[in-house]
């Protein structure tokens, strides 16, 4: 058998090595890094250069590659949208139709008629990139002259806003090996045992534990991360995190545990003394915490009422965090996926700053947490990289379609422009889904479906839905054209670490594209030729690129590798890299964000050059409706009551708070169709045992969860590991509607609200619902595979 080094390829937060074992043109087995590929002995696995071992999703890739859901030919819809009836057509017919319709829609409805809903679902490499902001589709539509962009990132927009506001950058992360040096790690809503965040983050945390690090988990559920790291579990009501952090800040100040020297030197607006001259008299963070303006001191007792955590526990955690050095408060993305989620992230940054845990090894300023810089782009990257004519909050497209033209700009979060298109709501007539399953993954799916029905009502030919993916997806079912895209096993590319880790993995063409699959880049290039800008779009190619991309792709990657060699001091030439398959950088010391700022006094990238707890930009915004946010955001982090929570009057009617974390047996919706993975974990709702007992619900029963937005059916898993009043349903199940519009697969986004936080954070975890036992049918997947949980058992010991 021939073995070929390649990698996995999803937007899951990590990137690991896969080794394909080939017989002829078929992959018959996958293995992973064993330490030898960089020329070391078998089993080499050191702290500086660890193995990049693939997770369960990566290991199951062979069954996705050859799955029955694989798209092999271009398809055209023949039934109604969503009915799932398609016929096979030629590439020529599909691309001609699409090009013709694109021109018609642009010329009739203007440069904002086509919506870019590309996402990093399946194509995350340096050359073949699907990406929301600057991927191949954005460049294609921008050059075509018709693109409405989607600016808020579903996973971490609250966090992005916080990091940019506070530190001026989203490069606020430490490398994964830095976690091995902490004395205390607070996992705030963070579950690396599920998300595998970063190349080896979870493994370095095990090293930290062996070196005496203590762990704390603040989360409504007792996760596997908590059990593996033996963490102190603090259950907290969802969506109240900022309040608890405010209580911690109060207690730290109250006991003088804060690092005043650090605050004075590096922070703006933490207290009166660090307010900028122009803002004297405005409220500082400390003023807020001590209630100088609103008369409410944010004491631990005040916080305890809101978040359901005992005041003693808040105090104890505050003391642990303030007196242990170095300590990492890892404020993960998920509590930020909430109404006013950005306030949680900014509040965490305030705690990180006041304890001086920024810029030191073993501390943590994350945040978004991007760390080591990878050379990420090999495709043409120029002034056309991210051209758009309107840009909206990503979860507002359905609202935009349904209410056009009676829209205020702040309702859809229109990004300001300097030209006559500023503030003009887009008349959306078409959507491109590239590597994206957004119909299944954005909030409030029933509203999205209504929006598609509105597009239908314009009549045949008056709208266009195109889905480009390697498998059929729940979104693809609604498309007019399905274009089969070659997977990363079938095209030449280089993989980057997604989140943390410092390495590159070569991805050769392992097998020839299945069926008539083409790469995204091939499809866009050919479409660009049909629309008249082919050479501009893909300057290294001729039109023959559609038939054979080999030489052109190689040329792009060679040029990219030259950049790598120049900028990152790599000794290997391209041929050596190709032969080895992986290049792991060995860093002289663990990369820690803001080390130069703290150690050498370099300015932060904020307007003031300091860590801005009091934000210059926010404080100087005169008219919020003219910003992309649309609504006011306070200049300092504050606790703001969310529009739904267990403390809300609405909880009388809907007494459960649903959270929808990432499952580990899927990457969002990717891999939902894989029997191996479906066998390991089931799509089920977890609820607390005492809640279940009151309602006569037992493990294995079928329940329905509903609110005014939708209804889903799942089995239930009754557990002590979940906080009372909370239900947990993992996101990403492939929607499967019955005739009454009830989702039988258990996709929580039928219950979520499409109302983003002002800063753009998706409110995925701001959901009240009710629960009851049900006679309706649960269907875990389209293939009706059974999903026994026989292997999971509870025994009272």
């Amino acid at each position: 058998l021939e073995t070929v080094v390649t990698s996995c390829a999803h937007n899951c937060g990590s990137r690991h090595m896969l080794v394909a074992h080939k017989k002829g043109d078929v992959i018959v087995r996958l293995s992973t890094d064993n330490g030898t590929y960089q020329g070391d002995a078998y089993g080499t696995d050191t702290e500086e250069k660890p193995q990049l071992r693939a997770c369960l999703r990566g290991r199951s890739y062979r069954s996705r590659l050859y799955s029955p859901e694989r798209l092999l030919y271009p398809m055209k819809r023949v039934g109604a949208r969503g009915e799932g009836k398609f016929k096979r057509v030629t590439w020529d017919e599909a691309l001609s139709d699409i090009a013709q319709r694109m021109v018609y829609l642009r010329d009739t409805y203007g440069p904002t008629a086509l919506l870019d809903q590309s996402y990093a679902g399946a194509s995350y490499g340096v050359l073949h990139k699907s990406d929301q902001i600057e991927g191949l589709l954005g460049r294609f539509m921008g050059m075509f002259g018709c693109r409405t962009s989607s600016w808020s990132v579903p996973s971490y927009q609250g966090t992005t806003f916080s990091s940019r506001t506070t530190f001026g950058t989203i490069q606020d992360g430490n490398e994964d090996d830095a976690f091995a040096h902490s004395k205390l790690i607070i996992m705030w809503g963070w579950n690396p045992a599920y998300t595998f965040h970063g190349g080896n983050t979870f493994y370095y945390m095990r090293m930290a534990k062996q070196r005496g690090c203590k762990f704390v988990l603040v989360d409504p559920q007792y996760t596997d991360s908590a059990s593996a790291y033996d963490a102190w579990w603090i259950p907290i009501r969802p969506n109240t995190d900022a309040a608890m952090m405010a209580g911690m800040a109060y207690h730290i100040w109250d006991n003088d545990w804060h690092d005043q020297a650090f605050i004075d030197r590096f922070v703006q607006g933490m207290d009166k003394g660090t307010m900028p001259g122009w803002a004297q008299g405005q409220e500082s963070f400390k003023d807020y915490i001590f209630g100088e303006r609103d008369g409410v001191a944010k004491t631990p007792e005040w916080a305890a009422e809101i978040c359901g955590v005992k005041a003693e526990d808040i105090k104890k955690l505050a003391e642990m965090y303030a007196t242990t050095k170095p300590a990492a408060l890892k404020a993960s993305w998920s509590p930020g996926r909430n109404a006013y989620g950005e306030q949680y992230n900014r509040m965490a940054a305030a705690l990180q700053s006041m304890t001086g845990n920024i810029g030191i090894l073993g501390g943590c300023a994350e945040g978004v947490g991007k760390a080591w810089h990878a050379e990420a782009v090999a495709y043409p990257y120029d002034q056309f990289a991210n051209v758009w004519y309107a840009s909206i909050k990503s979860d507002r497209w359905a609202h935009c379609v349904l209410n056009y033209p009676n829209l205020k700009r702040e309702e859809i979060g229109l990004w300001p422009r300097m030209d006559q298109l500023d503030g003009v709501a887009p008349n959306i007539r078409g959507i491109f889904w590239q590597g994206s399953d957004w119909l299944n993954q954005l909030t409030n799916i029933n509203k999205e479906i209504a929006a598609i029905r509105k597009l239908d009502s314009y009549g045949e030919g008056e709208s266009l839905l195109v889905c480009m993916d390697s498998t059929i997806t729940p979104t693809g079912i609604w498309a007019d054209y399905l274009l089969p895209i070659a997977t990363h096993f079938e095209r030449h590319d280089v993989a980057l670490p997604w989140y943390k880790g410092h390495y590159y993995i070569h991805r050769p063409v392992v097998i020839q594209p299945l069926g008539e699959s083409k790469t995204d880049f091939q499809v866009f290039t050919e479409l660009a030729y049909r629309l008249g800008f082919g050479p501009g779009y893909n300057p290294r190619a001729t039109r023959d690129y559609f038939n054979d991309p080999t030489q052109v792709d190689e040329a792009y990657l060679v040029a990219w590798w030259d950049n790598v060699r120049h900028h990152q001091g790599v000794e290997w030439d391209w041929e050596t890299f190709k032969k080895r398959g992986v290049y792991k950088f060995v860093l002289p010391e663990p990369h820690v964000a803001f080390r130069p700022q703290i150690e050498q006094g370099m300015p932060f990238e904020t307007p003031s050059g300091k860590i801005e707890i009091f934000s210059t930009t926010l404080a100087q915004t005169p008219d919020w409706t003219r910003t992309q946010y649309g609504y006011e955001i306070p200049a300092i982090p504050k606790w703001i009551e969310p529009w739904e929570s267990l403390n809300h009057p609405k909880a009388k009617e809907f007494p459960f708070h649903m959270i929808s974390p990432h499952p580990r047996w899927r990457t969002h919706s990717i891999f939902n169709n894989i029997p191996w993975l479906r066998e390991t974990f089931a799509q089920e709702t977890m609820m607390n045992a005492s809640d279940a007992e009151k309602m006569g619900i037992r493990t294995g029963d079928t329940i329905e969860c509903w609110n005014e937005r939708g209804r889903v059916i799942t089995p239930v898993y009754v557990s002590e590991r979940c906080m009372p009043g909370v239900v947990v349903l993992h996101e990403g199940a492939w929607m499967d509607l019955d005739e009454d519009g009830v989702d039988r697969s258990g996709n929580p986004d039928f219950l979520t609200l499409d109302n983003p936080s002002p800063a753009g954070a998706f409110a995925y975890n701001t959901v009240l619902c009710n629960v009851k036992k049900s006679d309706l049918n649960h269907r875990p997947g389209w293939d009706k595979l059974s999903t026994a949980r026989s292997h999971v058992f509870r025994r009272d010991l």
Binding site: Q210, D224, P675
Partner: protein
């Protein structure tokens, strides 16, 4: 339909099996597994790697990560017990096999099944106290972990061990694992291994070749 099997070979193997039931094979070196019950995140990469290597459909699982959880909110605990075949010193499956398809390898102590002799009667499945033998419906035979002998023989780790992202599952000579002299990342500093944990069948039954770093709630008396 079971395999077409050669009656003469069955006879020959049954004779061997009887011999080995009364005088078990004592391997030159007994290989075994070690698993850290606490540090395991329960991700099941090992399970999937195993299924991919062995070409299994959904259903049979040579390796099984079992979740143990207990306590009452908010004082809860959870840990994992990860088992495949324990390649026992005195395997219960071996004497249960009517065709002599099950045998123990002399060089490394791996308990293996000769698939060409298996008639799918599933008696070994019933005999094993650990649930190791897995019935493959499509092939109508019983299959199980063979510790990836093909990998062992060329000096590499089994697929499950090589897959472990947390480095909490390892393989080695069981004597050395048991006395702590084997160098393995599965066992952390200041940790020792035990022979039995709670929720696991009595090791006296078959003398399984596996050791665990136990969870505090998984420790049993006389677990050594």
């Amino acid at each position: 339909m079971a395999n077409q099997v050669d009656k003469a070979r069955i006879k020959e193997n049954v004779a061997r099996m009887k011999r080995e039931t009364y005088t078990p094979v004592v391997p030159d070196m007994q290989m075994g597994f070690v698993h850290n019950n606490v540090d395991c995140i329960g991700c099941r990469a090992c399970e999937i790697a195993c299924k991919d290597k062995n070409g299994l459909a959904a259903g049979p699982r040579f390796r099984r990560v079992q979740y143990i959880e207990g306590g009452t909110y908010p004082e809860v605990f959870a840990f994992k017990i990860n088992m495949s075949c324990n390649h026992c010193a005195e395997p219960a499956c071996l004497p249960a096999c009517p065709t002599g398809a099950i045998f123990k390898r002399k060089d490394n102590g791996v308990v293996d099944i000769d698939s060409t002799l298996c008639i799918g009667c599933r008696k070994c499945e019933a005999a094993c106290p650990f649930g190791a033998p897995q019935f493959n419906v499509e092939l109508n035979i019983v299959q199980k972990c063979n510790m990836c002998v093909d990998e062992l023989e060329v000096g590499r780790d089994p697929y499950c061990v090589a897959a472990c992202m947390m480095r909490v599952l390892d393989v080695g000579p069981i004597d050395q694992i048991a006395d702590g002299s084997y160098d393995t990342k599965a066992v952390g500093p200041n940790e020792t291994v035990v022979r039995q944990v709670r929720s696991m069948a009595d090791p006296e039954l078959t003398n399984p070749s596996i050791r665990f770093v136990p969870h505090s709630k998984g420790i049993v008396q006389d677990g050594q």
